[in-house]
C-alpha cells in the first residue's frame, strides 16, 4: 500500500470537517474521492498534503509515518498536491512556475528531462513559456498546476478538483492527460465534484458525505450504484 490514512479527524476551530475517515491508495492505482460541496474533499487533501495537521488519526506513506511532517517535508517524500483553483504563482511566468515545482531537486539533467515531459503532455504550456501565469485562461492555469506538480517527480500525485471552472471539452482533455500520467507510472488520487468523469477514469473510488465516507468500491461499481447515480450523476 502506498498511502494509508486511518481514522483521520480534522478540525477547524470548533468545527469538525472530517469525522474519522480512512482512505487507502495502492501503487499504480487511480483513486477518486467524490462528494458534494462541503463534504470534506478539500479538507482531506489538506490533511494528506500537510497544509493542515490532523487532530486525530494517522497517515502512512510508502511505509513511513508522515502524520507529523510538514507539507514541504512530505513533498520531498514524493507525496505531492496539485492545489485547487488558482494554486499557481500568478506573478511568475510559466517557466518560473515549473521551476518552483523542482525547487527541492538538484539533479539538473533529470529536471531538464521533466521539462520535456511536461511540455510533451501540455504543448500549450510550451507555447506560453514566457507568459505570466496570472494572465492565462483557467484551463491553462490548471495545466500549469499539474505540470508544476509533476516537476517534483511525485510518487503519488494528489489532484484537488482539476475540473473546477472548466468547459466540458477542457474537462475531457484534462482527464485524458491524468490517465496518461497514470499510464506513465504515477499513482493518482483525485478529488472531484464531476463524479461521472472521475468514476469512469478510476480503479477505485470513495464517496464522501459531510465528513464521512459513506461508500466505496471500484469506479464501475459506483457508476452503477443507484444511490450514487441519484445523488451525483443526476439520474434516477
Amino acid at each position: 500500500m502506498l498511502l494509508e490514512m486511518k481514522d483521520a479527524v480534522l478540525n477547524y476551530g470548533k468545527i469538525q470537517a472530517l469525522h474519522g475517515i480512512s482512505v487507502e491508495v495502492n501503487e499504480g492505482e487511480v483513486v477518486s474521492l467524490i462528494g458534494a460541496n462541503g463534504a470534506g474533499k478539500t479538507s482531506t487533501m489538506r490533511a494528506l498534503s500537510g497544509v493542515r495537521g490532523l487532530s486525530q488519526g494517522q497517515i502512512t506513506f510508502n511505509g513511513e509515518d508522515v502524520t507529523k511532517l510538514r507539507a514541504d517535508q512530505r513533498l520531498r517524500k514524493g507525496l505531492v498536491l496539485c492545489p485547487e483553483g488558482r494554486g499557481i504563482f500568478p506573478g511568475m511566468t510559466v517557466t518560473e512556475n515549473l521551476n518552483m515545482g523542482a525547487y527541492t531537486r538538484k539533479d539538473k539533467s533529470a529536471i531538464d528531462e521533466d521539462y520535456d515531459r511536461v511540455f510533451g503532455l501540455f504543448p500549450r504550456l510550451l507555447e506560453r513559456k514566457k507568459q505570466v501565469a496570472g494572465t492565462m485562461s483557467g484551463g491553462e492555469q490548471q495545466m500549469l498546476a499539474i505540470g508544476r506538480a509533476l516537476m517534483s517527480r511525485p510518487k503519488l500525485l494528489m489532484l484537488d478538483e482539476p475540473s473546477m471552472g472548466l468547459a466540458p471539452m477542457l474537462i475531457q482533455q484534462i482527464f485524458d492527460i491524468i490517465t496518461e500520467i497514470s499510464q506513465q507510472g504515477t499513482t493518482i488520487l483525485v478529488v472531484e465534484q464531476n463524479a461521472k468523469q472521475a468514476l469512469s477514469r478510476s480503479d477505485r473510488a470513495y464517496v464522501l458525505e459531510t465528513g464521512n465516507i459513506v461508500k466505496t468500491g471500484t469506479g464501475a461499481e459506483l457508476l452503477d450504484d443507484p444511490s450514487v447515480r441519484e445523488a451525483y450523476l443526476g439520474v434516477a
Binding site: R70, D72, M92
Partner: protein, 379 residues
Amino acid sequence: MSQILDAYRGLKLGDRWDGAPKVVRWAVMLLVIAFAFYLPYLNILPFAYIRTDLSSTGSDWASVLFLIVVYMIVAVGLNVVIGLAGLLDLGYVGFYALGAYSIALFGSTNSPVVGALQSRFGFSEEWAVPFAVCIPIAIVMSLIAGVFLGAPTLRLRGDYLAIVTLGFGEIIRITARNLDNVTNGAAGITQVPVPPGPEIDGRNFFNTIDAERWYWLALTVLLLIIFLARRLEHSRVGRAWLAIREDEDAASVMGVAGFKFKLWAFAIGATLGGLAGLLFGSKQQYVEPNAFMVNLSFLFVAMVVIGGSGNIFGALLGAFLLTYLPERFRAFVDWRPFAFGVALVAVMILRPQGLVPSRRRAREFEDRRHEAEEAAADV
C-alpha cells in the same frame, strides 16, 4: 501627476536599461557612484540648489546626505522583509535602536555595561570594547533579536504580525528608557565611539565637523549592501520568498519551508537595520531612547511602500525623498506633516504599487485587482 507618470512610463527606462550593453551599464553605474561621492562638494549652479544649507537656518548638507544614506540602508533592509518576503514589520525601529545601543553600550566609557566590565576585569577607566569588535556585537544582537521576535510571531499572518512587531519596537525603546542601570535611561549614553582613522589637523578622521567623511563611509557600506541584496534576491532564497509572497500554501506544497525562509528574511532585515543604527549612533556620538520613537517605524515602511516595494531602487528612492524633502524645505516646517500626508494618499491612489515598483510586484497588483473585480462581478 498622472501625465508625468505616463511620460515616465513612455521612456521605458527599465527595458532600455536591460537592453543596454554591459559596458554602458557599468559606465553609467560608475558615473552615478562617482557623482554620489562628489555630492557633498556640489557647488555648481543651478545644481547647487539641491543643497539644504543655502539659507542660514538650513541643515548641514553633508549631515543630511549621511542621514539619507543611513535611511537608505534601513530601506534596503526593510525591503527584504516587506518587499521580498511580504511580511509587514511595523517595529523596524527596534532593530535600528538595537544597533545604535549595541555600539553605545559596549563601546562608550560612559556606558554602565562598560563600567561593569572595567571593574570586573580591572581595566582602566578609559577602556571600552574596541569599535571593530562592536560591529559584530551589533550585528549579532540585531540578528538574535530578529530571530527571537520572528520565531514565535512569524506563524501569524498579515495584520497580526504587524501588531506584534509594532509592540516589539515600543518594547525596545521603553526598555532602553527604563533600564537606568544598563542604558542610563532617558539621559542616554554619551561618548559613543567613532570608527578608528588617522588624525588630521589634530582631529579624529571621523569627527563632528567633517560630516562628509561619515557620508562616504555610509555610502560605501550602502553600496556593499545593495550588491549583496541583489545577489540574495536572485538566489534560491529569493525565489522561495517570491513564492511565499505570492501564495504561501502553494509554496509549501511545492516544498518551500515557509517558516524557515520567513525567519531568514526577518533576521537579514534585522541585521541591516542594526547596521544602520550603528552608523547613526556612532556619528551622533550620543544615543538616547527618544531618538527611536514609533513614528520612525512608520516612516521606514512609508519609504519602502512609496518607493515601490520589492525593488531595491524603489526603496532607495523612497528613502531619499522622505529624508531629503523635509530637510530641503525646512522653511515650511509647519506644513511638512500635511504635505507628507497628502503625498502618501496621492501615491496610494495614483500609484499603489509605488513610484518604481519591481515589474513582478506590479503584475501581482494587477492580478489582485482582477481577482477583486471578478469577485465583485460574481456577487
